[in-house]
Amino acid sequence: MTLLKDLTRGLWRENPIFRLLIGMCPTLAVTNAAINGLAMGLATSFVLICSSIIISLIKNFIPSKVRIPCFIIVIATFVTIADLVLAAFFPDIHAVLGLFVPLIVVNCVILGRAEAFASKNPVHRSIFDALGMSIGFTWALLLISIVREILGMGSVFGINILGKAFTPFLIMVLPPGAFLAMGVLLGIMNTIQDKLATR
């Protein structure tokens, strides 16, 4: 039961993007196409799950005075692995995500979960927590990027779905579009949350 709760926490109740509003930098910067949002979500998930496991395993060995540098080394190691693997096997995605892959190191979702959960809980619970947060982060990124790609390009995953009659709002795939999409989606999410709470 606790495990299920750990898993579902990140999906909605403490969703990093729509409920906690952390990790905004990649959320706003790379969600201009569905494939980029998905790739960023998966890369972050990989780092989050791996670093949560390691940090949970070594938590008793780390003195609290140097815990932040230790967490950062662990996280940075997995980020570099993700960066190298993307560059070697998915060069196109690596070219688009570019600088944002190394920036996963400072994504507050990851350090936040390390500090708030993995460093205080056993490994199996940390895995479920990280998994839930990863799914929550990825679906939020995917939703924002799908909305932006449909409105800005008329397509989803590069496949045109709105036809030629639709004139795309180019602004939606440019940086301002990130704020517009994020703001409207947040409003919708808050409305849903209010409905759920009053029930």
Binding site: I58, P63, V66, C70, T77, T80, L84, A88, P91
Partner: protein, 178 residues
């Protein structure tokens, strides 16, 4: 003292582990990364030398120069990598040159760290196209013989001077014979 030792030991141990894991990952991914870079380089060379189907590496003295050949082995021109400082960091270009007519045959951006939306527009086609057919004796100065990008005169000028400087170096080293 002992309590500080523990902090140091823990950090050192974690760092060593991290280094070892990364060294291994690098070893596994390096061949692929190198191959991807080579493929990208080949595509760039083909793009800047019209009619080239294959190329030969004739690099020397820190200059990366390639000879473009068509299917029958006829000489089609040379391409060289031009690198230098831009506004935000190093700019790396692939430039095509026809030594017989002494004109550029094309230019493409390999990598840069310019400001997105401003200097990064050096990647746009209209900017790159203007170097095609340009005489190597031109000045390559923005707003004089190069159209500058609005709000990014430094980046535009940097591209011009990087190309100009590298052409001079290539001619110094090779003396016009390729």
């Amino acid at each position: 003292m002992a309590k500080y030792m523990r902090l140091i030991v823990v950090l050192v141990v974690i760092s060593i582990f991290s280094g070892a894991v990364l060294a291994q990952t690098y070893k596994i991914t390096y061949p692929n990364i190198k191959q991807n870079a080579l493929k990208k380089q080949e595509e760039a060379i083909m793009k800047v030398i019209p009619g080239a189907a294959k190329y030969k590496d004739i690099s020397k003295d820190n200059l990366k120069v390639f000879k473009g050949l068509d299917e029958n082995g006829n000489f089609k021109g040379i391409a060289f990598i031009a690198e230098g400082g831009g506004f935000g960091g190093s700019i790396k270009l692939m430039v095509g040159l026809n030594p017989e007519e002494e004109v550029l045959t094309g230019m493409t951006v390999l990598s840069h760290l310019e400001t997105p939306g401003l200097g990064a527009r050096i990647e746009e086609d209209w900017f790159k196209e203007q170097f095609k057919g340009k005489s190597i004796h031109d000045k390559f100065v923005a707003k004089q013989d190069i159209d500058a990008i609005t709000g990014a005169t430094i980046s535009s000028n940097a591209v011009g001077s990087i190309i100009k400087n590298t052409i001079e170096k290539v001619y110094q080293v090779y003396g016009g014979e390729f």
